[in-house]
């Protein structure tokens, strides 16, 4: 008989690998209200536990794996959880989201979070159930790829795992953590787990049923969310049919697709790897996070095998950015990255740097743009840190520091840039520069407004700071709730006011009166859902404030690690050279937007959060 948890269990399991002990931390109602859950709560817990300057691969670093308040409630698109840790790639805090099955099982084992501390002396598997944690010898699993190890580890349907592949074991700085066929992708969390000698975490769940405090209200909001998603073209048509790859054609026609290490924004062959073509050619079917209403994840038939369709970022960074336009090849690279446990964006960005550097003669390698030869072997070399691969495993920032060519290392704060060229979407460029974890496209994702919906003028600096800030706050909230970030399109655009106002009026309003426009955006569904699950009263504005608090906390934690204005920048290529296919020769006017953004955020001119602001947000007293 399954027991019920009303709202949240508020129990976080703290495991110390060094001493092989565990304890339970009880999350207070105040913490829940201020930091919601998942990303926010994870950051807060690490903020309380870690002092600045910790070595990301040392014993003192911790990983917090946090399902949000929605996980387990069967809420719309609630199958996602977060992990927070200090990243070896960027040396600052990193948060990463994943749609694998681990979150659900952890939550239904009665845990609202898991904090992993310390380091094992030998290779270990951590097992968790509703009673606590157990440590098992992991020697026989060490060296296995992410697929094989999960197959060997998981015996029961109620079990789910977090595992690393060879890349994580060998300390590749952009190694990731896998759960099922999905990944805690960015920022090298796999290397952190590897440094702790932890090959995998297995959790057995299904012991508790998560019941919202106000079931009736929750069902109502759930249905509304479902309705909005099904009405919205982006979520119910583009993402559902073509996955994230629906972006590829959009980016290509807007000249913001990375081609040849971001030297061009467009290529005539790009349509061959678009979501639309992949759907047709590879006969795709759904394979999504659970539960999900958008259904953006797909499997397809590649070279006779049913494998996950590479996401848009993987397709462009491992494809167009290397001038490769063959979906079978890209799927092959993607599969290697998946099995080895590496982030495809960083791997692709690093490969592109290597190709350009060897073209320019500053790095010796046989890899060439447009030629698939040697890429597969090189990816393995990276994962096993062999030969040149060992250097590539450090990421493009370290490579360019060593060999020169920093101007074409397309990274911010050490994290390689995702597949939207900011020279054709200035707001998105600001988003990259100020995102907490590095060149992260999901932090604000203003490109959706600028290019996909045409609501903001992409090549103008107007109103960009306002919208970057607003969406950063909102996504922090969403990622703490946690629900899928793609619900953002439908939950904000489908409410009556934004749905029935003609686009050109929205456009004028947003460009000229951003404050007013933002105040009219209705995203109350998120806060309503939060309240119905937890019973904690929260308004739409309270929700946004919580998001702002979470963003600010992460910024504050990072500034303690040495981040300041000098790091909030873009690669020289984005600031100085226009891309080759751009007739208007645009470059990103970052400085103009940055100061305005700092003011709105409450940072000083050097990008450090103001004391008063921290106090106001109840981050520091």
């Amino acid at each position: 008989m399954t027991e019920e948890i009303i709202g949240t269990s508020n129990k976080v399991l703290e495991v110390d690998l060094s001493s092989k002990t565990w304890s339970i931390y009880e999350v207070s109602r105040q913490e829940r209200k201020l930091y919601i859950g998942a990303k926010g709560l994870g950051l807060k817990l690490l903020f309380d536990r870690m002092k600045p300057g910790v070595d990301p691969l040392g014993e003192e670093n911790m990983i917090a794996v946090m399902p949000g308040v929605l996980m387990g409630t069967n809420g719309v698109c609630s199958g996602r959880f977060h992990a927070v840790s200090k990243s070896p790639l960027t040396n600052i805090f990193n948060t990463s989201s994943c749609g694998g099955p681990f979150g659900m099982q952890l939550k239904t084992a009665g845990w609202d979070g898991l904090i992993i501390k310390g380091r094992c002396r030998t290779h270990t598997i951590l097992k968790i159930d509703k009673k606590g944690a157990y440590f098992e010898d992991g020697e026989s699993f060490w060296g296995l790829d992410t697929e094989a190890v999960q197959e060997k580890l998981l015996k029961d349907k109620k079990e789910a795992a977090l595992v690393i592949g060879p890349a994580g074991e060998n300390g590749v700085k952009f190694a990731n953590i896998a759960s099922g066929h999905r990944f805690l992708g960015r920022g090298g969390l796999g290397a952190v787990m590897g440094s702790k000698n932890l090959k995998g975490v297995v959790v057995k769940g299904g012991d508790y049923k998560i019941v919202p405090v106000n079931k009736k209200k929750f069902d109502k909001w759930r249905k509304r969310g479902q309705k909005y998603i099904n009405q919205n073209e982006m979520s119910s048509y583009l993402l559902r049919n073509f996955g994230t790859n629906a972006n590829l054609n959009l980016n290509n026609s807007a000249n913001i697709l990375p081609v040849k290490n971001f030297t061009s924004g467009r290529h005539d062959e790009a349509y061959k790897i678009s979501g639309e073509t992949i759907k047709d050619v590879h006969d795709t079917s759904f394979s999504t996070c659970k539960p999900c209403a958008i259904l953006c994840g797909h499997k397809g038939n590649f070279k006779g095998k049913k494998v996950s369709v590479p996401e848009f970022e993987s397709v462009s960074l491992l494809g167009s950015n290397l001038k490769i336009f063959d979906s079978n090849l890209i799927s092959g690279f993607n599969e290697i990255c998946s099995k080895m446990g590496m982030d495809t964006i960083s791997a692709g960005g690093t490969l592109a740097w290597i190709m350009e550097a060897s073209e320019k003669g500053i790095f010796e390698s046989d890899l060439k743009f447009g030629s698939p030869e040697g890429i597969e072997d090189f990816l393995y070399d990276i994962a096993y840190s062999r030969g040149k691969g060992a250097e590539a495993a450090l990421g493009s920032r370290e490579l360019s520091r060593k060999y020169g060519g920093e101007d074409f290392a397309i990274q911010v704060k050490g994290m390689e840039m995702a597949a939207y060229d900011p020279r054709g979407a200035f707001g998105h460029g600001l988003g990259y520069a100020v995102a907490n974890r590095g060149a992260c496209h999901l932090s604000a994702y203003v490109v959706a407004l600028e290019v996909f919906f045409g609501l903001l003028k992409p090549d103008s600096v107007r109103a960009k700071a306002d919208f970057v800030k607003f969406f950063e706050d909102l996504t922090c909230g969403i990622n703490s709730l946690q629900t899928c970030q793609f619900t953002m399109y439908s939950y904000t655009l489908e409410p009556l006011l934004s749905k029935y106002t003609p686009n050109f009026i929205l456009n004028i309003l947003m460009m000229n009166m951003p404050k007013l426009a933002i105040s009219l955006i209705d995203f109350s569904l998120y806060s309503k859902i939060f309240t119905s699950v937890t019973g904690i009263k929260m308004s739409m504005w309270g929700f946004r404030r919580a998001g702002e608090r979470i963003h600010m906390l992460e910024r504050y934690m990072n500034t303690r690690e040495g981040i300041s204005r000098k790091d909030d920048t873009l690669p020289a290529r984005m600031l100085e050279e226009p891309n080759e296919t751009d007739k208007d020769k645009k470059i990103v006017p970052l400085e103009k937007m940055l100061s305005s953004y700092y003011r709105k955020r409450g940072y000083d001119s050097n990008g450090i959060p103001l004391k008063t602001k921290l106090k106001k947000l109840k981050i520091a007293s």
């Binding site: 073509t277 047709d280 050619v281 590879h282 006969d283 038939n301 590649f302 070279k303 006779g304 095998k305």
Partner: protein, 393 residues
Amino acid sequence: MLPSYYEFYNPVKIISGSKALDNIPYELELLNAKRPLVVTDKGVENAGLMKVFLDSFKNSGIEIGGIYSDVPPDSSNSVVKAIAKIYREKECDSIIAVGGGSPIDTAKGVNILVTENSNDLMEFEGADRLKKPLKPFIVVPTTAGTGSEATLVAVIYNEEKNVKMEFISGYLLPNLAVIDPRMTETMPPKITAATGMDALTHAVEAFTCLQKNPISDAYAFSAIKIISHNILNAVKNGKDQKARLNMANAATMAGIAFSNSMVGAVHALGHSAGAVAKVPHGVAMSVFLPHGLEYNLEKIKDSLGELLLALSGPEIFAATPKEKRALKFIEDLRRLQKQLFDEASLPMTLKDAGVTEDMLGTIATKAINDGALMMNPEEMSHEDAMKVLKKAF
């Protein structure tokens, strides 16, 4: 029913029957030609057909300017250029193509180059780009399937640009098609079955697709009748001269029919399966024909029903109620397919034909971009194509 407008064109003189080959020298003189260049492929040579062909020139006084027997299975630009060079060097004045689709298309390409005195086929790509009659051109078909001897199209692969060039012009039609049973009697059963089904598909699609007209209908109808009576005999007993001659005639008639009324979805799918998975054209036609007809069924019920008379004979036609005739046609077609599978192991599914499941998407993508779909009675989207392909798999 008459279409509101149609065109029909077929100036090809056909000579058919026993010892037809031996009339070629006389016909060449009528065409005012004395030194023909012969274009053929290895298959024809290895089957010993060249000997039969050349023997027919004995005692004729005609000198053959040159014989090119290395045409690859896919006619290509470079081969066309090479042959044109030989034609000029040997001072030939006419062309004879001996073989199946590939030598015939190649010879058509050569004819364009030598007549226009050019070295670049690209100049003439597309519809109606030729403005004057070409050199005397004779075709001796050896496959009884493609019907290329009666078509005004040539498809030639351009290696440099990696594209297929299509040439469409009334001038590409040969002056003479020579049907001699000796030229097809060495064909092995499987190929006989495949080419026979190819011809059947031409005729059925010509009769059911959008450009159908009364004259092409007449050719198509007769072709189907002849094929249904003879295909099994020709497969079972290759030496049956009568069956061979009948099949070769039917193929030419089907060629005339579809040259004037075009083909549809079955061909679109077949071309694509050939391009992606190297399925031989005849095999692909045989596999797709029933599925393609089933897909179009709603739109072609009446015309397909009429064809039951040709395929299954008057007794069955009369015994089947009008609205069930189209379905009965498909049923009987499947039976024929099964018999050919038993007799000659002609594949019935794509899987047997060597297609793997991951190719289907690519085949469908190519198929919906194939020009043949334009004349298909029913619209076909990628999704529809996938459904048909999965059924045929």
